[in-house]
């Protein structure tokens, strides 16, 4: 493949200055000790461990330490080189050329020599990610790429359909090895690779125990230098209270998401640090608009008017959060501050249902043309904390008062995901979204994202929303995109594809023996290769 003339290419060039790496074990030169293990508690278990098929946070936290992207984002919001040592962008903003590091190897399979990371792996990752049969929510993010080309063993070139804002940051997607998946064409959750991933990152997956603990060990050959902590262990807990106790009794060293009830106790204990993160998240009840009873927005709005969100937040989460009005979190740059959350107004809810053609029957249930508003609410068992159970019960009670009958069904996490994302077998679902800083809600509400394993599970479709999402993606003007997102917020809030609930206070807690802890606000473990435990406190 012909390389573009340098003069027209260089607008942005990074130069990565790392000390030359030698073969074999590589040590960091920051003077901090290696050794020790970090056991961290997760409320639930990862479904898959690869970065392509996974779409939950537990999985992402693990894949974050196993894999790398071409670029990454540092603590100062700067795009910095990762597997690519430098990048060049053409003057017209459409051609991105990445020059890859030559000192990166894949985690070795047992009994094998580590294989080198090359341009073939990058092209393979892109192709498999975009394959129609690959199960992933990532495709929508990379539709802007027209073509991926291998220039030579260590050079790849991406041609964009059009220039976009923050394009470079989007090349932070994680690279998987060509020799990884059993099926070289597309990736599904049945492929052994998704449970036994091979990456280039600071930690290597050693095994998953019978108790579903994920054991990760330090990659001695990590190109940035061996991470300090020998072993990361992700320990799943089915009960948040027990997880909190495990931290307090030193059975684990870190909790990625602290139970709200435990915050005062942990804050009062000098052994631990609490660090806020994940501000860009919210909980919601999502509607399946395939159900004809839920196609009218007045019906969906009625649900929001019917529930006293503030009372639920205060009663079940000790008020540790804030009520939201629409599809962006209040900590987001895209949140429309002019849009106020709908008030608690059950009378208004009844009026809206009546306006949509519903009348209360003799049994007290609202019905239209003989079809009763009796709906199934599906909740994942991993979310079956005491607080969530209460939310579900309260939701049911609030709606009962306006003549809507809710049947709550708790399902095991994977079964729930299949019902929601694959079979679309639900009327209402309860979940939470967490977003990175980009405020990209296209995968949630664009009609092109309706389908198996896609994020628009409720089949919500509105041409105006689609149009705003596309406009937002196409513009190269930050302020224009911001204005569009404000409109999008107002429109989606009015359309009510969800009952938007609240953003909760999210804290991670860790034992102070773990030092130099910087937590990525979304990906969590991005900087964990620099964490360390003093020798005297290793066990």
């Amino acid at each position: 493949m012909k390389r573009l003339p340098l003069i027209s290419m260089i607008i942005v060039t990074f130069a990565l200055c790392l000390s030359p790496l030698t073969a074999g074990a590589v040590a960091r030169n920051d003077g901090n000790p290696d050794g020790g293990a970090l056991n961290y508690g997760e409320y639930g278990r990862p479904v898959t461990l690869d970065p392509i098929t996974s779409n939950d946070m537990i999985s992402m936290r693990i894949s974050e330490v196993i894999f790398n992207g071409l670029v990454t984002i540092d603590e100062k919001q700067q795009v910095v080189p990762d597997l690519a040592e430098r990048a060049e962008v053409s003057e017209n903003g459409r051609v991105y050329t990445f020059y890859l590091r030559r000192d990166v190897t894949w985690h070795p399979k047992e009994g094998e020599e580590p294989k080198p990371f090359t341009a073939d792996d990058v092209i393979f990752t892109y192709n498999i990610m975009m394959h129609p049969k690959t199960i992933t929510a990532l495709k929508v993010r990379y539709e802007f790429i027209d073509q991926a080309t291998r220039v030579d063993d260590y050079t790849v070139q991406f041609t964009l359909k059009r220039p976009i804002l923050n394009a470079l940051a989007k090349f932070s997607f994680k690279i998987i090895p060509q020799h990884g998946p059993a099926n070289p064409e597309f990736l599904t959750r049945e492929d052994p690779f998704v449970q036994q991933p091979i990456g280039t990152g600071p930690y290597i997956l050693r095994n998953i125990t019978a108790d579903r603990e994920v054991i990760l060990v330090a990659n001695e050959n990590y190109y940035k230098g061996r991470p300090h902590i020998d072993k990361l262990v992700a320990r799943p807990f089915a009960d948040q209270n027990i997880m909190g106790q495990a931290l307090l009794f030193n059975a684990i060293d870190m909790i990625v998401l602290v139970n709200h009830r435990d915050i005062p106790q942990i804050q009062g204990d000098k052994r631990f640090n609490l660090q806020p993160y994940n501000a860009l998240s919210y909980s919601f009840f999502g509607f399946n608009t395939r159900n004809p009873l839920l196609t009218d927005k007045r019906v969906r709005q009625a649900f929001t008017f019917a529930v006293n969100r503030q009372e639920m937040l205060d009663s079940f989460f000790q008020g540790q959060g804030t009520i939201i009005s629409g599809p962006f979190a209040p900590g987001s740059w895209a949140y429309n501050l002019d849009v106020q959350p709908l008030s608690y107004d059950p009378d208004k809810a009844v009026q809206l249902l009546q306006a949509a053609g519903f009348e209360r029957g003799a049994d007290g249930i609202m019905a239209r043309n003989g079809a009763k508003l009796t709906l199934t609410l599906k909740v994942p068992i991993a979310k079956e904390s005491e607080a969530v159970k209460r939310v579900v019960l309260a939701f049911k009670n609030y709606l009962g008062k306006i003549g809507v009958q809710i049947e709550g069904v708790f399902l095991e996490w994977m079964a729930w995901k299949e019902d929601i994302f694959l079979k679309h077998d639900f009327d209402i679902m309860f979940a939470s979204w967490v977003f990175d800083d980009s405020a990209d809600i296209s995968s949630l509400f664009h009609s092109a994202e309706i389908g198996a394993w896609k994020n628009n599970f409720g089949a919500y479709s509105n041409p105006k929303v689609d149009s705003l999402i596309v406009e937002s993606k196409l513009t190269l003007d930050h302020e224009k995109r911001r204005t569009i997102n404000r409109k999008l917020h107002a429109l989606v809030a009015d359309e009510s594809p969800y009952v938007f609930l609240w953003t909760l206070t999210n804290y991670a807690a860790y034992n102070k023996k773990v030092r130099r802890v910087a937590i990525h606000p979304y990906k969590f473990f991005s900087f964990s290769d620099q964490w360390y435990i003093p020798k005297s406190e290793q066990r």
Binding site: D56, Q320, S332, S432, V434, D436, I441, D477, E479
Partner: protein, 496 residues
């Protein structure tokens, strides 16, 4: 802060006894304790006229406390707003492409913010740029002329200033802004004469809504003249979250501009009000109340930028030999700060050199750190003592000192330790709630998060705060603008 509240409430109860549960005085002070200063001010302001003779002084003292808290709050908000708006407007002008999508108003607002922060050369550059590229005749053009006149005057270019000011149109809004500009330039007599002669008689007397720029000018003039009631009446005629101007460049592009000077004028109004009411409490004849009234009167003078008056009151406070020891120590620190602000920093330097490990008390160290932070005075030995002491204290008693140290670091632009200490002082069980965390501390924490580019954490704080203090909106909007341009994420969303 909590200790301050306890002491004041104790002093108040000593002076006047306990009142019924629904007493507006108690209601107001409860709101004050919950840091709902706007509501507290409303309740107590309404009560002042009704309070009987026995309760008058207590009501005055309470209202003074609430106004002092409001003054501190708006001072902190003003600092936060100018910092983020400079960044935002600079980004707007720096990303201009020379087409119809560019903001034409950003230079004016950038110039205004620079004037607010005292950066006269930058203010001059942007205001001149705006005037030369903007068609004469509209309101913002007039405001730009007035502001540029102020810049020239402060740069000693009085002739150029005079030329600009002379050309100002004869409308109440423009003349109000001009009177305020005279005031800001130090021509207080001229400003007051213009205001009394040509502005006040022509102000609409109805309860009609006023625009933000006019209100800003009116607040400044009323505060300066001690016409507090008129200041509060003016305040009631605006929506504090309103923008000054919305510029629409294309169908899908608009930018909202706000006025950070409004926040400073609110600080002035509340500080002057606090001065008036502490004075009244001091002169009420109640001996038990007097020490507290004088102590906080000095604080109010400092916030009203009257350090000489603050110094005199502190002298009287200390001469009287009453009041808790801690407050006497803190008053000594404030005396030294007054001197430093009056151009005599020797006393403060001497005091800082005398602070040693044996005498180090958390409250005293905290006071020194707060004052040194606000006045940008380096005191490394006090910082070291505070850090040593913090390692020995339990979490509960360390909160005040931790927060003071965090604020000190923030003011000295050391954002990482600022974040660490302010976060350590935060009540995490009610993370962003102002009833659990002092608002000024939350503003400082949000600033530390902003400077550390953890924008969403900063926005979360302001979002919660805006429910009680709508003027926060201008910080939110500018911060969102900076965040939108600085974020570098790929566009991910996951279920959790």
């Amino acid at each position: 802060m909590k200790k301050t509240i306890v002491v004041v409430l104790t002093l108040l109860s000593l002076g006047f006894g306990v009142h019924a549960a629904e007493d507006p005085l108690q209601q107001g002070m409860k709101l004050y304790q919950k840091h709902h200063y706007t509501d507290a001010a409303r309740v107590l302001h309404g009560y002042l006229a009704q309070a009987d003779a026995g309760q008058k002084a207590q009501a005055q003292m309470s209202f003074g406390m609430v106004c002092l808290a409001n003054a501190r709050l708006y001072g902190a908000l003003h600092n936060a707003a100018t910092a983020v708006q400079v960044d935002y407007y600079r980004k707007l002008v720096n990303t201009a492409k020379g087409d119809a999508g560019d903001s034409r108003m950003a230079p004016f607002f950038l110039g205004q913010v620079y004037l607010e922060t005292g950066k006269l050369a930058e203010a001059q550059h942007w205001l001149e740029k705006f005037i030369t590229t903007h068609l004469a005749g509209d309101r913002l053009y007039t405001e730009a002329q007035i502001a540029l006149g102020t810049v020239y005057h402060l740069q000693q270019k009085t002739e150029k200033a005079g030329q600009l000011w002379q050309a100002i149109e004869d409308t109440p809004n423009a003349l109000a802004a001009l009177a305020a500009a005279y005031n800001q330039a130090g021509l207080t007599g001229k400003g007051q004469a213009l205001f009394d002669g040509q502005v006040r008689p022509r102000l609409p007397t109805s309860s009609r809504r006023l625009d933000i720029l006019t209100v800003r000018a009116l607040l400044q003039m009323f505060a300066q003249a001690g016409r507090i009631e008129q200041g509060f009446e003016t305040l009631a005629r605006i929506d504090l979250k309103a923008f000054v101007h919305e510029e629409t460049m294309q169908t899908d592009k608009s930018v909202r501009f706000y006025d950070p000077a409004l926040l400073d004028r609110l600080r002035q109004l509340y500080a002057r009000t606090a001065v008036i009411y502490f004075k009244k409490a001091d002169q009420s004849g109640n001996d038990k109340l007097r020490p507290a009234a004088r102590y906080f009167l000095a604080d109010a003078y400092l916030l009203a930028e009257q350090p000489a008056d603050a110094r005199q009151v502190l002298d009287r406070f200390l001469e009287a030999a009453k009041g808790p020891r801690t407050y006497r120590q803190r008053a000594t620190v404030k005396q030294a700060v007054c001197d430093a602000r009056l151009g005599a920093p020797q006393a403060l330097r001497k005091m800082l050199s005398r602070v040693n490990g044996k005498k180090a008390r958390p409250v005293l160290l905290g006071e020194i750190l707060l004052e040194c932070g606000q006045n940008r005075i380096e005191c490394p030995q006090v910082v070291q003592l505070a850090r040593t002491l913090l390692a020995q204290l339990d979490d509960r008693s360390a909160v005040g000192l931790t927060v003071a140290l965090g604020s000190y670091y923030l003011h000295h632009q050391q954002y990482e330790p600022a974040l660490t200490h302010l976060e350590a002082g935060r009540d995490k069980s009610r993370k962003n709630r102002i009833d659990a965390n002092p608002p000024v501390m939350l503003i400082h924490l949000a600033q530390a998060y902003y400077r550390s580019k953890q924008f969403s954490e900063a926005l979360e704080i302001y979002f919660e705060m805006s429910k009680q203090f709508p003027a926060v909106r201008q910080i939110q909007v500018a911060l969102q603008g900076v965040y939108a341009m600085e974020q570098r994420s790929a566009g991910d969303a996951k279920i959790f």
